[in-house]
């Protein structure tokens, strides 16, 4: 038990950098960096307030048809699904790709102990990501219904156990995946394909279930009658998509009855049992996927010098940097999932959620059809947002990590650094833009001119976004990571970037909205282009001096 506690404490410390934060405090150099964190959170508040206000009226909509419990189900489902999807990535990198494994495996500790400590750390990360979603739902429901003490008690239990089952499922899924793809030579490719396939399947599966159950209740003969009779009807029929969320919603909604008690028990007990089962299974699964993981394929026939000749050509510095960046992005599974995965999945999810709404789609696509300019503007805005979401710019220096000395001791001009890294981000953006255009095509058939406009303006909008990200990253690069995951997913710069990026895109959006009916569309495009170019130049200048300054100062 002592071993376990020590493991957990160390792992939490490594992951959240507690020691280094304290060290930074003592060195008195990083205090201003700590101030940035609350500032970044502040910048996210406006959108968050908007979201909560939306939820507030969302609740009313369900309470009008007497199905408030469905509101809770949404809260549970949204946060638990998020835990699950983030869990897949966290688990993959923490269980299998973190550097401390090299030290842990030789120690006399059981696989289950290593796993438990890592599970706990991920739980903490998951609380940080899921509570901002779950709590508004639970609190709004409690306030609106004037719920009693027992409700709040159940809500706390609901929150505590919330990440357990989704995380157990992602742990098991990844452990099984890793065990059976642990095949010499093709490991990385196999895993990326399997993970991608799995994600797409999971999304498809969710949508399918929702569709089927939606149809089932809407087409039921006495739908209105049943709706009035059973306040938990919607929860029961749609909750089958993920039963733990259903148990959670039922327990909170019926806290004052026996139904609530049975459901909260079910919810908590199944969470605990599933965790225990997963830990037991890990004894059999974990090391099988892990051992041999670090082994990489080296050439057997060492007679490749003829090919080497061809690769030895001189390249311009910025192109060489761009090529190196793209290679590193594609060869590190975690980076690939976050950058390329992000720009591919987001547009697909958006398109799928629009397309599956079938009946409700008709008016929307009719409306959009008459407003191609609106579609172009939205498309450009989305590509711009993807420019931040792909995290390529905002983690570009952080990703260098312990290799950063190479960049700092080589005679590289700041312009080359910027240009090279920018090109790498644009490369990813081209992929995202193409997927987005294809996705839009499913909703509305665009003409060639609009497509070209979206592509050009979208890529142009990606430039200031990437540069802005790089500014944030060079101010406070996260270089001391032990696991590439930390450089991208657990990097606070990404969040800061999202905040500032949203403000940038939001401002432009409101500006355009203001001009929309008053000014000719052609002029609007010109103005937009002008702003994008001017801000790019501005950011470029700032970045130049920042890079020169920071490359000297960093320690």
């Amino acid at each position: 038990m002592n071993k376990l506690i020590s493991l957990i404490r160390t792992d939490l410390n490594i992951t959240f950098g507690l020691s280094s934060i304290i060290h930074g405090f003592k060195a008195k150099k990083k205090i201003w960096q700590l101030l940035i964190i609350p500032l970044a959170l502040l910048s996210l508040i406006p959108s968050y307030v908007l979201l909560i206000r939306g939820l507030w009226s969302f609740y009313d909509a369900f309470s009008q048809i007497g199905q408030q419990s469905y509101f809770l189900l949404m809260g549970f489902l949204a946060s638990q699904l998020m835990v699950f999807f983030f869990g897949l990535m966290y688990v993959m990198s923490k269980y299998y790709f973190s550097n401390d494994l090299n030290h842990l495996v030789p120690l006399p500790i059981k696989p289950s102990q290593i796993l438990t400590s890592k599970f706990v750390t991920i739980m903490v990360s998951e609380y940080l990501t899921s509570m901002p979603i779950f709590l508004p739902f639970a609190i709004i429901f409690g306030l609106k219904t004037n719920a009693g003490l027992l409700y709040w008690l159940y809500a706390v239990l609901g929150a505590i156990f919330l990440p357990v089952i989704p995380l157990v499922i992602s742990s098991l899924a990844i452990m099984i995946l890793m065990k059976y793809t642990n095949i010499k030579g093709k490991r990385d490719q196999l895993r990326i394909i399997a993970a991608g396939g799995f994600m797409i399947f999971a999304i498809w599966f969710q949508l399918k279930i929702q569709q089927i159950s939606q149809k089932a209740i809407l087409e039921g003969e006495n739908f209105m009658f049943n709706l009035a009779r059973d306040a938990n009807l919607l929860v029961r029929s749609l909750g089958v998509a993920f039963p733990p969320s259903m148990w959670g919603a039922l327990s909170l909604a019926n806290y004052d009855s026996f139904l609530g008690l049975t459901n909260i028990l079910l919810y908590s007990v199944v969470s605990i049992i599933s965790f225990v089962l997963m830990i037991i299974a890990s004894e059999k699964l974990f090391f099988d996927g892990l051992i041999g993981n670090i082994e990489v394929s080296a050439s057997k026939h060492r007679n490749i010098n003829k090919n080497l000749d061809k690769t030895m050509v001189a390249t311009r510095p910025y192109l060489a940097i761009a090529r190196k960046e793209v290679k590193m992005l594609f060869k590190t599974p975690i980076y690939l999932m976050n950058s390329v995965g992000g720009v591919i999945i987001v547009p697909i999810i958006l398109a799928m959620s629009l397309v599956t709404g079938e009946a409700s789609m008709e008016p929307i696509s009719q409306f959009l059809y008459g407003n191609t300019d609106l579609v172009v503007i939205i498309g450009v805005g989305m590509i711009g947002i993807l420019g931040m979401l792909n995290s390529v710019g905002v983690t570009t220096f952080s990703r260098e990590g312990s290799n950063f000395w190479i960049m700092r001791t080589l005679p590289i001009k700041a312009e080359d650094q910027i240009l090279g890294r920018l090109l790498a981000s644009l490369f990813i953006q081209v992929i995202g833009a193409l997927v987005l255009i294809v996705s839009i095509f499913f909703v509305i058939k665009l003409n060639i001119l609009s497509i070209i406009l979206i592509l050009l303006l979208g890529l142009l909008a990606s430039i200031p976004m990437t540069l802005l990200g790089m500014i944030i990253d060079i101010i406070r690069p996260m270089l001391t990571w032990t696991n590439p995951q930390q450089a991208m997913k657990q990097n606070f710069n990404v969040l800061i970037g999202m905040g500032l990026g949203t403000i940038y895109v939001g401002t432009l959006f409101f500006l355009i909205k203001f001009m929309f009916d008053k000014v000719d569309m052609f002029i609007i495009y010109l103005i937009l282009m002008g702003i994008l170019i001017i801000s790019s130049i501005l950011f470029f200048k700032v970045l130049m001096s920042l890079i020169e300054k920071r490359f000297r100062e960093l320690e």
Binding site: K26, S299, L308, T311, P317, K327, W405, P411, E555
Partner: protein, 242 residues
Amino acid sequence: MLTLKNISKSYNKGSIKAVDNLDLVINSGEIFGFLGPNGAGKTTTIKMIVGLLKPDEGSIVLDGVDVWRDSLKAKSIISYVPDNPEIYDRLKGIEYLNFIADMYGVSKEERKTKIYYYSKLFNIEDVLGDIISSYSHGMKQKLVLTSALLNNPSLFILDEPMVGLDPKSSFNLKEIMRKLCDEGKTVFFSTHVLEVAEKLCDRIAIINKGKIIAHGTMEELREHAKERTSLENIFLELTEDE
């Protein structure tokens, strides 16, 4: 010629003084050895020369170029080999070498000759097509050495270069150092292996607690010590705590 003038560096806002008002002149065509106990300030000094740590005070000038004012120019004539070869291990060896050559602006023909020459010398030519994460520690180190030799450096600066090298490679490295210095280049390295320093270096400096406590040729060092014997005895005597 490399001149370190009154350089100081402290960590944690002055609580640890790692390098204290250090003065040193290293001539061109010289192999200079930098000795000292663990934590004496060797790595800190080297990092200040190569642009990784900004000195709190003082200046560093290489062949008339102020290393911190005209850093781009300085970096193009310095090659640095760190004590720990942490490099992009997702790249192939050859990709890494090409990347470094691109940054130094080395022409196609020149890089071809050099890559073949040094990789053959260090016996890593057969693995250049492999991904770096499949290399052993020593192989990584030899790759970094190769990359550092692609650009005819005026100053070749190495932090504990012999650690982890097999006897043949460390012999070859010593030969390379000799050759560079015959060409009028400056070689500066830190080491804990006293025999290497004694045999190879034209001049030696011993640093302790951030200060140079002795420097000069072997002969001159001997005069410092009471017992004029081996470098080992001199080192132990000089770095002994009062």
